[in-house]
Symmetry: C2
Amino acid sequence: MNNSEVGDNPLQSVLLRARQAQVEVARVPLQERNRVLMEMAAVLRQASPDIDLANQEDVQSAKDSGLAETLVKRLYLTNAKIEGLARSLEALVGLADPIGRGQGRTVLANGLALETIRVPLGVIGLIFESRPGVAVEAGGLAVKSGNAIILRGGKEAKRSIQALADAWRKALERVGLPRDLIQCLDDPDRRLAEALMHLHGLDLLIPRGGRGLIETVVHHATVPVIETGIGNCHLYVDGSADLDMALHILADGKLGNPSVCNALETLLVHRQVAPAFLPLAHQRLAKEGVVFHGDLESRQWVSAMLPATDEDYAEEYLGLEIAVKVVADVNEALKHIAQYGSNHSEAIVADSYAVGQTFLDEVDAAAVYWNASTRFTDGFEFGLGAEVGISTQKLHARGPMGLEALTTWKTIAYGSGQTRDL
Amino acid sequence: MNNSEVGDNPLQSVLLRARQAQVEVARVPLQERNRVLMEMAAVLRQASPDIDLANQEDVQSAKDSGLAETLVKRLYLTNAKIEGLARSLEALVGLADPIGRGQGRTVLANGLALETIRVPLGVIGLIFESRPGVAVEAGGLAVKSGNAIILRGGKEAKRSIQALADAWRKALERVGLPRDLIQCLDDPDRRLAEALMHLHGLDLLIPRGGRGLIETVVHHATVPVIETGIGNCHLYVDGSADLDMALHILADGKLGNPSVCNALETLLVHRQVAPAFLPLAHQRLAKEGVVFHGDLESRQWVSAMLPATDEDYAEEYLGLEIAVKVVADVNEALKHIAQYGSNHSEAIVADSYAVGQTFLDEVDAAAVYWNASTRFTDGFEFGLGAEVGISTQKLHARGPMGLEALTTWKTIAYGSGQTRDL
């Protein structure tokens, strides 16, 4: 047993304060919880110049330390982005209350009345990297769903997150709710991230970031975890596809924002259309700098591809690279996806009803797209207001995790002395 | 990394066959899945004498080997119990299809139509002890929800489970569905239980049995697990309680079936009614052999109690023992439950509206009872037809796990070329 499980976890008092704050927020009506979000939107707008300044310092220091360009890009929190965060909080206000909703009342033959209602999970932990805005989105979802949240962001975003934590504190104080509802940890040496993974009593820990972070948390945590975000997403272009549409969807998936989990990583093409489609695909993407890794057959049609290895098919590039394979039909495509996919988002372009239905039915993923881009797998696009992460597991939550993913159930039984056996 | 994760797991072929069978069952309409349950009910009735005989051999051999009386009791599978299992399958037939149901269609502004539907989890593993009937209940829930299941029962129930596995095989064959939907493992030395815990690709593993089994699985499994069944359940008798009702509920909770997880383990009594209630409680239960462990104050009113230790309050006795504590009010009762409870089922007897509401709101448990027995926390009582276990965790499933607990979601998007960024 880990030392931090037996009572000397450095986050014990953080958890205790979070728990006390959570009991308080769970009691207040929706209007109060929504007021916190409105106040936070106002504070964000007022403090926008200060937050922007703190962020510029983070960005400068990240550049100085030689952080990779794509990671620096995620770090940016401009005034425009801050306005976007304020608006997403306002959108969240418009959503229905996720807690208290019942699934109807069942009255047993003996008169015992059962009601199962949604209740908050309790105290949630979130370990994230780079994007400081996560502190706003996740905090907003937590408050609206009656939970407390402990945020442990990346050290490269330290100043930005501190500025956002200050904003949350002001918003909570203005409404008269405890500031400990949203606690941000300063954790330069990962000691507290480790402590979160073993913080007995924490109701849920969500890792949000790169594969290394997610795998570490999933394998080592002794508290409940939801696995998020690894997206090895495929596009299958069937023999019946409209090739212009396929090309457009391919370009959106690979070029729109290559560094995110719903971006495309592998292209599967039906043998029949490979000679026509692959040169078009290569022409469209290569000029934007995309490197192709193809199997032997696809290299017949585009000689400029590198040979694809097993590692290429398994890789989530998160950059300007793509793996390519020619397949005999939808079944071979499904088999490839079953072997290499990460159950995140998969797409098909096809005009055949039979082929499309087979793909929708058999792909084992959180989201499956017929004639549309995988890039839509996102809490905001799905109408959840925001997301605390995108679950790639099947239990509890699958796909973008909004308010409902932060709740559980409780069955309340109203009796008048009912007993079962006596 | 465990050896069994890197490709040499002895259950790999079992999983592969289960997966193939699952894909087939997920495709067939509800009527076919229901027909399997009806056929199984018929086969059980026909084979009842044989099953009974196999069970008698198990019981005899368990007695010979000196198995504890309560465990032998769980082993019994009489003709009456077999008839009960057949009826529970028939009840399951009457329930709605848990798969395919949508949460409504959302059409985004760009015309992309999103539908989130319930789909089977896939392949489920169940490790259970003693009660052979679990193979019927869990198998029925799995088939109805379009899942395959791998059952690993206790070795003491080996012959009974084999007889039930034969019955499933016949029922599946009669309907023309693959027999590999329900596979029973013969595992005399726990090697296969260990393999199940590390069977990469298994969608869910449920441990159902004693605390030792559950803790082993929760701590060691590398596949997704749902924790079940530990029930340290409390009854709080408030100062406003009807003491006759409280006594009746106490007796049902402690005497009805002391060996199950929803039985009572601790009695908390308001100081005001302790002098009147505790002697009554002791009189009612002691004559049935119940041993009392009380705090100092409760022993003032009943001198025949043993002193209660911290271990007593933490213990799930599952037998004729009970821990007792006098408390100042509902808040102290709630504090005690928060410290020692297992989030399973908690009960209050009170006539005060304010006290009752506080208890319902603040107890953190799957089920909370006001003026009724904790013994009702059960899939059949809750109208789920049967249960594959009672979840004591907050994620995915909480309380009795019926059909819905064996499903997940998939978002299907119907497009006409929609892209997000380009």
